[in-house]
Subunit: 436 residues, 2 copies
Amino acid sequence: MKDLESLSASQAIRALARRDIKATDLLLACLDRIGQRESLVKAWVSLGKENALARAKELDKGAIKGILHGLPIGVKDLFDTYDLPTGYGSPIYANHYPLADAVSVALMRQAGGIILGKTVSTEFATFKAPVTVNPHHHKHTPGGSSSGSAAAVADFMVPLATGSQTAGSIIRPASYCGVVGFKPSYGKVMTAGIKALSPALDTMGCFGRSVGDVALGVAAMSDDLGLAEIPELHNKPRIAICKTNDWSLASKETAGAIALARFTAEAIAKGTVSDIELPSACNELTLTQSRIMSYEMARTLSFEQKLFGKKISSVLSQQLVEGSKINYEQYQMDMHYAKAARFAIDQLFQNEVDIMIAPSATGEAPSAKDGTGNPVFCRGWTLLGLPCINLNISSGPNGLPIGVQLIAGPGKDHFLLSAARAFAQALPDPVLRDQA
Amino acid sequence: MKDLESLSASQAIRALARRDIKATDLLLACLDRIGQRESLVKAWVSLGKENALARAKELDKGAIKGILHGLPIGVKDLFDTYDLPTGYGSPIYANHYPLADAVSVALMRQAGGIILGKTVSTEFATFKAPVTVNPHHHKHTPGGSSSGSAAAVADFMVPLATGSQTAGSIIRPASYCGVVGFKPSYGKVMTAGIKALSPALDTMGCFGRSVGDVALGVAAMSDDLGLAEIPELHNKPRIAICKTNDWSLASKETAGAIALARFTAEAIAKGTVSDIELPSACNELTLTQSRIMSYEMARTLSFEQKLFGKKISSVLSQQLVEGSKINYEQYQMDMHYAKAARFAIDQLFQNEVDIMIAPSATGEAPSAKDGTGNPVFCRGWTLLGLPCINLNISSGPNGLPIGVQLIAGPGKDHFLLSAARAFAQALPDPVLRDQA
């Protein structure tokens, strides 16, 4: 048995269920790793060591509680937890103890998960650079806003961690940190108990080190327990590369990653892997997503802006001012646009394609001083509400990970997991095949 | 000028904007009325008298802040307020002070509204009978779950109060208490900061004593400020009576109210007021709504059930147990059913009808010992996400109010307000015409 902290969530769950390993030992191994690395990586806002150990001991003694039995989990500090402070990445909420868990956190505990601590979120899940560094190179960003979760999983501090995506806050940090990130269909995981940023877009998901890991995580978070079982692909899917309308922003390494993804996909696809263009109803996706997010943020954070304006960063303050200038009529037009775009993409998935492959980010993780990176390659998919998975596929000029995202039709989360596993199994690099 | 507490929200707003009356005096008149009546009606959980008075004085001195400038407002105790305890109708949350306002509350304050206090909600907005009584007869229920808000507005304690509807929690108490209740389109008002019950259904709205009042309320809550201006109807709408599949549950007085509504509608409708049946895709609306609500409640309240089970009423506990038995596959089927039903109703509104008129409740307010009444005539419309307004139209055997609801197509909130005003103006009883 390798070091416990390097087990993937799926491996750990199997070993825990067979009682081959103890939840307590796994937890201690994670805490040990955190002890060694946290001063550099800065992935955690708080750790609930004692509660977690008590819970692990209880789980070691009792019957198997559920699909996450005994698994240590990092929770993005945007999710309410009743036993750990919940700061939403903002000094306004320093030392805030919510009275209840977010619904998805309660469901993970119900499935036997052990909440080990809270991971760093950017300020209200927006764009200000966090303290967390990329564990592969401490001068680079882990991405945001789910910075701590992506870094903690990448650095073997914890096998599973939750995230949320409003623009590109799961897929982008997963790509930058070289882990598997799963943003399920919009609405799949209930958002109650998570600090709202842009309710039309906010989508909860998770990070793991394999497709099986993120399936477990979202299965528990959504209480769709069947999602944890990933069936083999029965039929070869129609796969297409979608470079999107923002392809001019892709770096050489991203272009290389897409080329490698095409090659990999050929092995599992029905026919050749074609290029696909989004329907014209999707031409303004990125702009529309940005404007809806901007409009809604200015409303969801209006309380904080009014009462605690001085504790909001200048960059966010400015965004809130801009968002407050967008009027309801524009917002309604944008929401109608989104509805029409979703209808068009639904048709596309029904008629032409089963899985699209697209860039996860413009390139490898930028230097930390340049912020958390550009979410442009995620904005449209988030607005469309489609399930997306990032898989690590290659690396960039600084040796940092590069991912691609696989995207399925609306509600096809289960199928996406099957396809992502098959894709990972077909990767040329045997180490990367562990992501299956 | 009549007594200030009997001004409707719209009347008060006009007088405040002209500085004919002071916000302070209006507030004091409301407090006075509450002082006289609260020991009987029991509409309030808490009053923020000092903060409200301070705010009123500030508003009397300064420039006009917005569309609710100086208006005292009751907030259902399901909505977070940073300066008033927020109990969600449950002893679990006794003395809970959230750190932030619900988004809709923050937006009402931003528009110049004065939060006067929190009104009684049933336990987590479910069905256990509350302490509040029907102000028209203290042995009868005001309905639920927005019990305190409906009763406070009906009893002239406050001109405007917020509500939420998951099954029938705005329209039903509005009918029982004889006030105007507005449940706008699903999603119109952001739910962030409101205790989630069933996120697929939870819809925020308000109570007033006229169509103009509820337009003001939802305009501020949604930040769709244009909604406060209600244009005259340019064209006669196609109006139809929809008795729904649950018509067998309608009492004689409800049948009488529908007959009177038909007669009234004839005056403003294009052609005759026909009867309309819902498309067959809507046959199972009531059952589907109940099951989705039951499924989701069992998840949203799982934290409370696990940690504070003894503080949950036995009736709710039982419902949570039942809901937890419904599996994800059933829930997904129900959500697909709802989507198909919404599509069918959208077609119906496009092709055949502009406004439907339907019962608001099975009859007048039942005896308080029999609970909060049956929401059956609201469940389907809530699931469909359609905007609905209750107007008081007649009375039952105990002399208690009976309302009907007017329903428009998805997103047609503005048009619904215009139609509801025209309908109210056409009512035979001149007193009831004040609802316009």
